[in-house]
């Protein structure tokens, strides 16, 4: 109808505005189509991007909820390989796939991996990889029955690294000792050293430089006053990084005496003692390998490395004293120093 009227208008010679109308209609159509096209496309692509962001966030959430516990870990070295044993439990809410086991020989800094592990654990599942199911990792140059220290970790498919913690004997000891109804002192771990509070002892002298009752000594927390004595305690290297601790001649046992407003002190420097109780006139560093326990004897009034051996006597009257261990030397080749509050003694008059 409209078209007919346009033709009639044209026919009748009244065609003013027809082109304007056509142009306007086209303009509106163009604007509508172009904007619709662009907007719809933008919405589509934005939706795609938002979906990718959501998926990424979900993956991150799942990655962060992975929780794997590995217990009873032990390492057995064979020539060129290490057998890793333990128990792995999926304590998280999501299934976990373990792809790879890495082992680092901390002594030689050589590493190895087993990328054929492929352990799949549903939530709550536990898997023992012990004895014949132990995971084997090849490490170049590893000796048979090597005593090297190892660190290891699992890699999950979601990209989490799960460290495997070796079961430490001293932790077992502590738990056992705490549960021991017959009494006894738990051992105390401070830093890299474990202190045996129960077996603290002192020694008397048979001659100027020979301990009379070495190594058994007299166990207890009372010591006679004004007497030349030496003291002994058991220290264990429990460094979590499995490093060796070396004690130099500046290590000592330090007494503080609460006798006046001026601090009073006594100190006994570390010494080397032969099996017969003879104190060496020189000092060679005491070396504590990881996991090793050793009876450390403090006997000299002076640093043996500087002045040689000099006997030291206890305070002259009855007084309680606090005993500290001032440990000096190296750990893993790096400088090391630690001041450890140890036991308390009563000096009997």
């Amino acid at each position: 109808m409209a078209r007919n009227s346009w033709f009639k208008k044209i026919w009748a010679g009244r065609s003013k505005g027809v082109s304007t109308v056509i142009g306007t209609v086209f303009l509106i159509l163009i604007i509508f189509m172009v904007t619709t096209n662009v907007l719809l496309w933008s919405f589509l692509k934005n939706a795609e991007y938002n979906r990718a962001v959501m998926e990424r966030n979900e993956e991150e959430a799942q990655r962060s909820t992975e929780k794997i516990a590995v217990s009873d870990v032990s390492y057995n070295a064979e020539a060129g390989s290490v057998w890793v044993e333990g128990i792995v439990t999926n304590e998280g809410p999501v299934p976990v796939q373990i792809k790879t086991l890495w082992v680092l020989d901390k002594t030689t800094q050589k590493h190895g991996y087993n990328d054929m592990v492929d352990i799949n654990l549903k939530a709550g599942d536990t898997l023992n990889f012990t004895e014949s199911k132990a995971l084997i990792v090849a490490i170049d140059g590893l000796d048979d029955n090597s005593s090297d220290a190892f660190a290891s970790w699992f890699v999950t498919a979601r990209g989490n690294l799960i460290p495997l913690e070796e079961e430490h004997k001293w932790i077992q000891y502590n738990i056992t000792n705490i549960n021991n109804t017959s009494g006894g002192y738990p051992k105390v771990v401070l830093g890299a050293l474990m202190l045996d509070l129960e077996n603290f002892r002192y020694f008397t002298y048979a001659s100027y430089d020979q301990l009379g009752n070495y190594p058994s000594g007299i166990r207890g927390y009372n010591a006679p006053a004004a007497t030349d004595l030496a003291f002994g305690c058991f220290l264990t290297n429990v460094d979590p990084a499995n490093r060796t601790i070396v004690l130099d001649s500046h290590s000592l046992m330090w007494f503080t005496l609460p006798v006046s407003d001026v601090p009073h002190n006594r100190w006994w420097y570390i010494v080397n003692v032969a099996d017969d109780g003879t104190i060496s006139s020189s000092y060679s560093n005491v070396i504590l390998d990881h996991g090793e326990t050793e009876l450390i004897v403090f006997a000299s009034a002076a640093d043996i490395g500087d002045l040689g051996f000099l006997r030291q006597d206890t305070p002259k009257r009855g007084v309680p004293v606090s005993v500290f261990l001032l440990i000096h030397g190296t750990i893993g080749g790096q400088p090391y120093g630690q001041n450890i509050p140890f036991v308390s003694l009563y000096i009997e008059p």
Partner: protein
């Protein structure tokens, strides 16, 4: 009666003649009236021109919006792909046996073909760059397509210009898609 019929016929004839003469007049007017013809033609031409121009503008607008859509799509697709990339450093080894750095990687993202463009090793005072390092599988064979697909593990070796002094170092891996992943290691 006859007269009446004659009169009717005469009237009809005159009506037809009138019609013919009117049509003839119109045709002659159309033929000879130049003003009316030029108006119709010009209107048609103007309308045609407007339509043609509109179509041209429409085609151009469509082309531009397609270009824009294409560009927008490429940008969004690239960003989406980058978002899906995730590399994890399984281990960074230095100095064993030679003074090179071996970087062990796992593609735990959701997109294949993660290519390494550049690797940076640096500390506070020192920086070394390595472009397009060679990727190897963990069994030491070279990865043919030089990328890590989803779930694939591989490593690359960086040859250093000098030995590293002790301390912490950062290693950063930049992928072709522009994502960056980093880790620290201790020498």
């Amino acid at each position: 009666m006859k007269m009446r019929n004659d009169s009717l016929a005469t009237t009809q004839k005159s009506h037809v003649l009138n019609k013919i003469s009117e049509r003839t007049f119109r045709i002659s007017k159309m033929i000879f009236n130049k003003r009316a013809v030029s108006n119709a033609v010009s209107t048609t031409i103007l309308a045609g021109a407007v339509i043609a121009l509109s179509l041209a503008v429409f085609a151009w607008s469509e082309s531009r919006s397609e270009d824009y859509n294409q560009e927008f799509s490429e940008t969004v697709d690239a960003e989406t792909a980058r978002l899906k990339e995730k590399l994890v450093f399984e281990y960074v080894s230095y100095g064993n046996p030679s003074y090179d750095i071996a970087v062990y990687l796992l593609n735990c993202g959701t997109i294949d073909d993660v290519e390494i463009k550049r690797v940076y090793v640096a500390n506070d005072t020192w920086l070394q760059t390595c472009s397009t390092p060679i990727l190897y599988f963990l069994d030491h064979t070279e990865i043919p397509d030089q990328d890590l697909d989803v779930g694939e593990e591989g490593y690359l070796v960086l040859t250093l210009s000098s030995t590293l002094s002790s301390g912490y170092y950062n290693v950063q891996v930049v992928t072709i898609r522009g994502e960056t992943f980093g880790a620290k290691f201790l020498v």
